[in-house]
Each structure stands twice: as structure tokens, then as C-alpha cells.
């Protein structure tokens, strides 16, 4: 078995073993923490599709988490608790929003694309704030978690395994996508756009499709997130969220399968450490003062990400 396969096996095994271990140790907190990380990992995996493999610097990915979360929250508000319906709407609505935003944005390139995706995310954020009916600025509680036949999401361990399964499924789907003909067009266009045009690829429809797929997956992550936090707020869509998810993708190493997962774990664990575990109170209260420069340094010196380091060790 290759080193990578071994690493993956150990990692998945550890994740599977976590709930019983955490229960035995009487530390349910870890289950919560890892579950949250895995939900963001799904968002990072979806962003990796368009950013890491496609080269589309989308600063608006948090929007889809918001759309997905609001879809579930609003349906629950009106008493529609069927998980399949809620999550179906979450995914469908995010896909539609991605289609609308992508259709306008993907025609542009470079700096324009970054600014436009950022602007549209902000637009959705303001939209969320203005929805007084659903909590406006403060957000609102989720009436009850999504209901599925056979699965009780109110049980922390069950919910955890659902998230784990979905994360592994996302990894697998993206893996198939990026190696398919569809994915190759994206990767070729990122690698050398003039060359890909010259051999006859028109990247726009493929990029748009990838954008929609990533948006849909982001919507699923949003549905999971709102179930996890039991609370719905426009902050899901705040543009700083988008930046954080981008960091999760970059830190782990773009255009790799494991990168977004590693990056999400690294980013959120560091964030958690700074804001909750470090014994110095000043650091805990003002953790962004330290995270900020850490992020700057990581961009300046740590470009290839964690996956890049591992690959170097293997050579």
C-alpha cells in the first residue's frame, strides 16, 4: 500500500473511531469540533474544484453556505422539516444562485472576477440582513433539525457519521470530476488558457458548470452547518467567511484531493487554539491580531501548502 493510501486509511479510521472514543472519555466537545471541521471541509472541497483545479478565484463561496442554510432554516420556520425536501431545496437553490452569478461573472477574468464574486456575496449578505421575517441581522434559531427516515440527526453521533459520509462522498465525487474529460478541460484552461483555446476548447460552459456544481455542494455544506449550529445568521455569508474558506483550500494545497481536508483541519484547529485554548487571555480575546499576520506569512512563505510538503517528503 502506498504512503498516501496508508495515510488516508489511518485518517478515515481515526474519524470513524472518534465518537465512541470521545464518549468513552466523556468529552463530547471533540465530536462537535470535528463535525464542524468536516462540514467546512465539504465547503473547501467544493471550492477546490473551481479554485484549485479551475483557477477561478471566487471570493464569493460563502454565499452558497448562506443560501443552503437559509433554505433549510426558512423551510423549518414554516414547519417543513423533511430533510430530503429541505436539503434538496438547499442544493437546488444554491445551484440556481451559482448559475445566475456565474453566468455574469465567468465572462470576466482576473481581477474583475474576484471583485464581482465578492460584490455578489455581499449583496446576498445584505439581502439576508434585510429579511426581518427570518431574524434579519441577528438571525434566528433553527426550529428543529432536519428529519430523515431511519436517521435521527438530534443524536450527535448519528449526525457526525452522516457528515463524515457526505464528506467522503464529496471527496470521491470531486475526484471523479477532476479526472474526467470535464475536469481536464478545467485544468487545461487553468494551466494555459491560450493553449487550450488554440486546441479548440471553449472553457466558458465548463467553468459555468463547475461553478454550479461547487455552488450546489456549498449549499449542502450550508444545510449541514445550520443543523450543526442550530442557528441561522447572515454571517454564514459574510465575505470574511469566503476568505477563510479560501485559506482552508490554499493551506492544504490546491488541486490535490486531500489538500482542502488538511487545510480545513489546520485552519480551524489553529483558530480554535488561538481563540480558546491558549493560556494567555490577551491572545484569546484578540486572536485575529495573531491569525492575520500568520495568514500573511503563510502566503509569503508557505505557498505550496501542507500537501506540497508531504509530497516533497515522498520524493
Amino acid at each position: 500500500m502506498s504512503a498516501r493510501a496508508l495515510l488516508w486509511t489511518v485518517f478515515v479510521a481515526a474519524l470513524v473511531a472518534l465518537p465512541p472514543v470521545a464518549a468513552a472519555l466523556g468529552q463530547p466537545f471533540y465530536l462537535d469540533l470535528v463535525r464542524r471541521i468536516m462540514i467546512f471541509a465539504i465547503a473547501a472541497i467544493s471550492l477546490n474544484l473551481i479554485l484549485g483545479y479551475g483557477g477561478l478565484v471566487s471570493f464569493g463561496h460563502a454565499a452558497y453556505l448562506g443560501v443552503g442554510g437559509y433554505a433549510v432554516g426558512i423551510l423549518a420556520f414554516y414547519g417543513v422539516n423533511d430533510g430530503l425536501v429541505q436539503w434538496g431545496v438547499a442544493i437546488g437553490a444554491s445551484a440556481l444562485v451559482a448559475l445566475a452569478i456565474g453566468a455574469v461573472s465567468i465572462r470576466t477574468s482576473g481581477v474583475y472576477f474576484i471583485m464581482i464574486t465578492l460584490a455578489f456575496t455581499q449583496m446576498l449578505y445584505y439581502l439576508g440582513i434585510s429579511l426581518e421575517e427570518y431574524g434579519g441581522d441577528d438571525g434566528m434559531r433553527l426550529r428543529t433539525r432536519s428529519e430523515f427516515p431511519l436517521l435521527d440527526l438530534k443524536d450527535p453521533a448519528t449526525f457526525y457519521y452522516v457528515v463524515l459520509a457526505l464528506m467522503l462522498l464529496s471527496l470521491y465525487v470531486v475526484h471523479r470530476l477532476v479526472n474526467s474529460r470535464f475536469g481536464m478541460v478545467l485544468r487545461a484552461a487553468k494551466s494555459n488558457e491560450p493553449r487550450s483555446l488554440a486546441i479548440g476548447f471553449s472553457p466558458y460552459p465548463y467553468r459555468l458548470a463547475a461553478f454550479v456544481i461547487a455552488g450546489a455542494m456549498g449549499g449542502l455544506a450550508g444545510a449541514l452547518l445550520v443543523n450543526h449550529t442550530n442557528y441561522l445568521t447572515p454571517d454564514f455569508m459574510h465575505w470574511t467567511r469566503s476568505g477563510e474558506i479560501m485559506f482552508m483550500v490554499i493551506l492544504g494545497g490546491m488541486a490535490t484531493a486531500g489538500g482542502p481536508v488538511a487545510g480545513t483541519f489546520a485552519f480551524l484547529l489553529v483558530e480554535d487554539m488561538l481563540s480558546a485554548w491558549i493560556p494567555i487571555r490577551f491572545v484569546r480575546e484578540h486572536w485575529q491580531l495573531f491569525l492575520g499576520p500568520l495568514l500573511v506569512l503563510s502566503v509569503l512563505f508557505f505557498r505550496r501548502g501542507l500537501a506540497g510538503i508531504l509530497r516533497k517528503d515522498n520524493e
Binding site: 474583475y112 464581482i116 465578492l118 460584490a119 439581502l127 492575520g292 500568520l294
Partner: protein, 305 residues
């Protein structure tokens, strides 16, 4: 909706537009000439506002406060440029975005550490308080008129520099063909530093003027930055003229939209529906406008490339 109210909101829109222009002018040049995405531009706006609060309180004098705040913002901007931004000029946009994002987090927390998270309110000197009667029955704040005046003056100054001086010629050339300008032997490093400093000073000016109107708080820079992006997308990267036109359009549309969309909608649909949809639609207005402009002219109205 009376004509007087419309007139006053129009002026408010111009005032917002002028503030956006000061931010956009610097940023569009940095984008066009240096091909550098600087998300931390908003932080300079915030630094200008905070330094103004501190300096005017410390010296007790408003003009002295302005001078110190501007100088301080320039120093901060240059320090950031040398320490964090220079290595990023040669990197791709993604790196620039992420690194400047890290700077935003840092600066927002820094001002919170120094001044706390609550909004600060600045007071105006007596000669800038008060109102002026512009039209019979319409009185308008002196301060906002001052901002409009200063902004238009800066606009004129920039127009003069960009079209009539050698520096301006280099700026315009650099915005449309960066490599050519470097190949001509121009000291690119110096040009970049000047352009960046320009932008930082303008952002600081916008911030210190905006303080008394919009509250001074951590994160204020990003709220306006995103509107500035909309301005630049509409106006076209690298174009100061585009920045002015775009800024005025965005400022006016946003202000008038927030003021009049709800009542206007109320004429067309039921009152409760307008109550709900009005503010939502108003906040989305400038983004929808941006989408329309993009659909027609993907590189903005006055793109230089």
C-alpha cells in the same frame, strides 16, 4: 416625496459618491498600473478615520488633526507596502488577495485593541456644524457640502495631474501597458511607490472626512471597500475618469434607492410587501446595476485596456 427631499438625497448621493471616488481613484490606479489587488485599502480608510479621532482630540484642533491623520496614514501605508506588499507584486492575484485579507483581520483587531470595539463618534468644529439654505425651504449640512467640495477639488487635481503632467502620462501609459513602461527605462519601483502612496493618502482622506458621518468602528473599511469594487468594475480598471463616473453613479443610485424605493414600490404593490421588499431591493440595487453594466461592457465603461 417632495422635490426638496429629492434634492437633498441627491446631494447625499453626490457626497457618498465623492467619498467612494477618493477610495476608488487610488485603488483603480494601483490595480491598473501595478496589477495588484489590495483588499487592505479599506484598512487605510479606517486608519485615517481613527487617527483623525485621536489627533483632533489630542491637539484640540481640527486642521492640525487632518494634517497628522493624513501623515499618519501615509506612514502606515508605506510601512505596510515595504513590509508586506512588496513581495506580493510578482505573485498571482490569489496570493495578493489572501495576504491582504490577513492584513484586514490584523488591522481590524488592532484598532479594537487600541480603541475598543464600540463605535466612536467625532465632533465637528463649530464652523463646520450647522446648515446652509441652498434652495428656499431646503437646508443642508455645511459639512457634507464641504466634503463634496473637497472631493470635487481632488477630482480636478487628479485630472490635472493625469492629463497635464509627466507623472500623469506615465500613470496612463502604465495603466494600459505596464511592461512597455518598464522597458522604456522608467523607474518602476519609484512609480509604484508614488502611486501606492497617492492611493493611501486619498483613502486616509476619505476616512477622516467620513468619520463624523458614518461611525468609526472596526470593519468600517470593508463595508465601503466592496462598494468601491463595484465602482471600479463599473468604471473600468485603471481609469480615474471611470472611477469618478462610477462613484457618482453608485453613490447616487444607492442613496436614492434607499430613500425612495420603498415609497415608490408602495404605489405599485401593497404596503406590507413594499415594507419587506423595499429595503431588501434597495440594498441590492448597486449590485444589480453592476451586473447590468457587466453584461453590456465586461471591462467597464472606461476600461483602459
Amino acid at each position: 416625496m417632495t422635490a426638496i427631499l429629492f434634492f437633498e438625497q441627491l446631494l447625499n448621493g453626490v457626497q457618498l459618491g465623492v467619498t467612494l471616488f477618493l477610495m476608488a481613484a487610488g485603488l483603480t490606479l494601483v490595480l491598473g498600473i501595478m496589477n495588484f489587488v489590495n483588499l487592505a485599502h479599506g484598512s487605510l480608510y479606517m486608519v485615517g478615520a481613527y487617527l483623525m479621532v485621536a489627533a483632533s482630540q489630542w491637539t484640540g484642533s481640527w486642521p492640525l488633526g487632518i494634517a497628522l491623520a493624513l501623515a499618519g496614514t501615509l506612514v502606515v501605508g508605506m510601512a505596510v507596502e515595504v513590509l508586506a506588499l512588496r513581495p506580493l507584486y510578482t505573485r498571482d492575484h490569489l496570493d495578493q488577495v489572501l495576504a491582504t485579507f490577513g492584513l484586514i483581520l490584523f488591522f481590524n483587531e488592532l484598532v479594537a485593541v487600541i480603541w475598543g470595539r464600540a463605535s466612536l463618534y467625532t465632533s465637528l468644529p463649530s464652523y463646520l456644524q450647522g446648515h446652509v439654505e441652498l434652495l428656499p425651504g431646503s437646508i443642508y449640512p455645511v459639512y457634507r457640502l464641504t466634503i463634496i467640495g473637497i472631493g470635487l477639488f481632488i477630482g480636478l487635481l487628479l485630472w490635472y495631474v493625469v492629463t497635464r503632467t509627466r507623472l500623469g502620462m506615465l500613470i496612463r501609459a502604465g495603466a494600459s501597458n505596464r511592461t512597455m513602461v518598464a522597458a522604456l527605462g522608467v523607474n518602476i519601483r519609484l512609480l509604484y511607490t508614488v502611486v501606492f502612496g497617492f492611493g493611501a493618502a486619498l483613502a486616509g482622506l476619505a476616512g477622516l472626512m467620513a468619520g463624523p458621518i458614518y461611525s468609526v468602528q472596526p470593519g468600517m473599511g470593508e463595508l465601503i471597500l466592496i462598494q468601491v469594487f463595484v465602482v471600479i468594475v463599473i468604471g473600468g480598471i485603471g481609469s480615474v475618469r471611470g472611477a469618478l463616473v462610477g462613484a457618482l453613479i453608485v453613490g447616487i443610485v444607492d442613496t436614492l434607492g434607499r430613500a425612495f424605493l420603498k415609497p415608490l414600490l408602495g404605489h405599485v404593490i401593497s404596503a406590507p410587501a413594499a415594507e419587506a421588499a423595499g429595503p431588501a431591493l434597495a440594498s441590492m440595487l448597486i449590485y444589480l446595476l453592476m451586473a447590468v453594466v457587466l453584461a453590456l461592457k465586461p471591462a467597464g465603461l472606461f476600461a483602459s485596456r
